[in-house]
Amino acid sequence: MAAAISTTLSHHTSHAAVQRATHDPRWVRWTLTTVALLFLGCFLALPLAAVFAEALRRGFGAYFSAFAESDALASIRLTLLAAAISVPANLGFGVAAAWCIAKFNFPGKSVLITLIDLPFAVSPVISGLIYVLVFGLQGWWGAWLIEHDLKVIFAVPGIVLATTFVTFPFVARELIPLMQAQGSDEELAALTLGANGWQIFWRVTVPNIKWGLLYGIILCNARAMGEFGAVSVVSGHIRGETNTMPLQVEILYNEYNFVGAFAVASALALLAIVTLVLKALVEWRHAQARAS
């Protein structure tokens, strides 16, 4: 409609006038692009560069020796462990949630979708606090846990739980819209050809959602390894035992060990860069797959 109007009307208006009205003059383009890039440079590139500059302030020797410390190594191990548990758990949940939401109709579906997004609306500090209320010394299970000599808060299980909470929606929220858009025609075709449930899932659904799945895992993992507020509440900051990498950064920074703090921070910043590159690659492949 709009196209028809504009072609009819363009006979009355000269081409140059339309060009002038739909395209910005060069000086506007230049000014806006410069301002936007300056803003992004100040707010994004500068902090990123500062991390590496501060880490390398005393040279490469001091930088690498910061990683040789046993506390730093322990924090790296704990971060990897927390991510290795919480990411697969949320992956399994995300797939199950997307399957029942995208393939079936049931009452209360939109409420369920909202509840899945809930952890994103909760402050990280509160995400940690609620586990203290359940498993802490004065919490619901506190007495029972002491009786059985189990520790959740100020120990590794609490860190894993808090990490799982803050990364809870990532995979589900990538998969739900994707699987809803794809519908279930291919799965139904497989069913009529005699495939059973798991065969349908592994051979039809998984190949269809693999890029969305990968995208969700990348984002989930980045948040799991970088979470600070929630983990800080439940960790208790026991050196070499309950410090993840972000907590190790905080401790070293507060001790004025800036090279050490920024060295560990630079490893996390590298992880962020890798995440951004992988994310861009997956988006690009996904766009290609859709175009073909």
């Binding site: 002038r20 009205a21 990123l48 393939k103 402050s123 509160i126 004065q138 910043a269």
Partner: protein, 277 residues
Amino acid sequence: MSFLRRERSVLPGFGLSLGFTLFYLGLIVLIPLSAAFIKTAGMSWDEFVAAVWSPRVIASYRLSFLASFAAASVNAVFGLLVAWVLVRYPFPGKRIVDALVDLPFALPTAVAGIALSAIYSKNGWVGQWLEPHGLKIAYTEIGVFLALTFIGLPFVVRTLQPVLEELEPELEEASASLGANRWQTVTRVILPELLPPLITGFALAFARALGEYGSVVFISGNMPMRTEITPLLIITKLEQYDYHGATALAVVMLVASFCLLLVINLLQKWSRRYYRV
């Protein structure tokens, strides 16, 4: 579970997937979250008011609210600009810049926090030029505002970008052929179209900023009554073993963010109706 099914689907796995979803959701999210409300319900009204309405707490509300609002506003203006430039103008390195916009999502907040305080402190790259002129950023309210601007940056850009990409060029051509100049086309045709996603992005950035902790604590200096945000106050109360006080504050924040979530959902519905006609 068959009573839950309105339309019968022949695909298998409904009971298993819904059962696991509800079980996991309850275990990880709903039961722990309810603990905060149940714990607060055990307090008397006077105790609750004393915990959530003391001068120090009110000062923290004011800082959290105002700094988040200012940061989200700056992000709305510059986010619109960045989204416009990324969608409309070609320039070298555009792919890299586009990927970089997501940095605040990918960079751990503690890393962002120490990097920002290193830049804006007295001896930092930017701070050494500003402090001699009497402009202190690190350990002041401005520092809090800067950190919140950093973490909220992608929200406006990422909500505007897809809408801008789908905006039909015919709309602008029609406007031009009806005699509008470029300024009129931008302000009367394009901007009204962008308003719903712009407000949505603003609300998302604002909600995120209200709960933010990691990037702020390093640059704020954490002075009571002056640069103490509400999430930090929760941690302070926890460290003093004041579980009731911490939980009451948490409930106030949870209610505020649930209300915001509701507003955001309504906004998103509004902007969808606006476009898919």
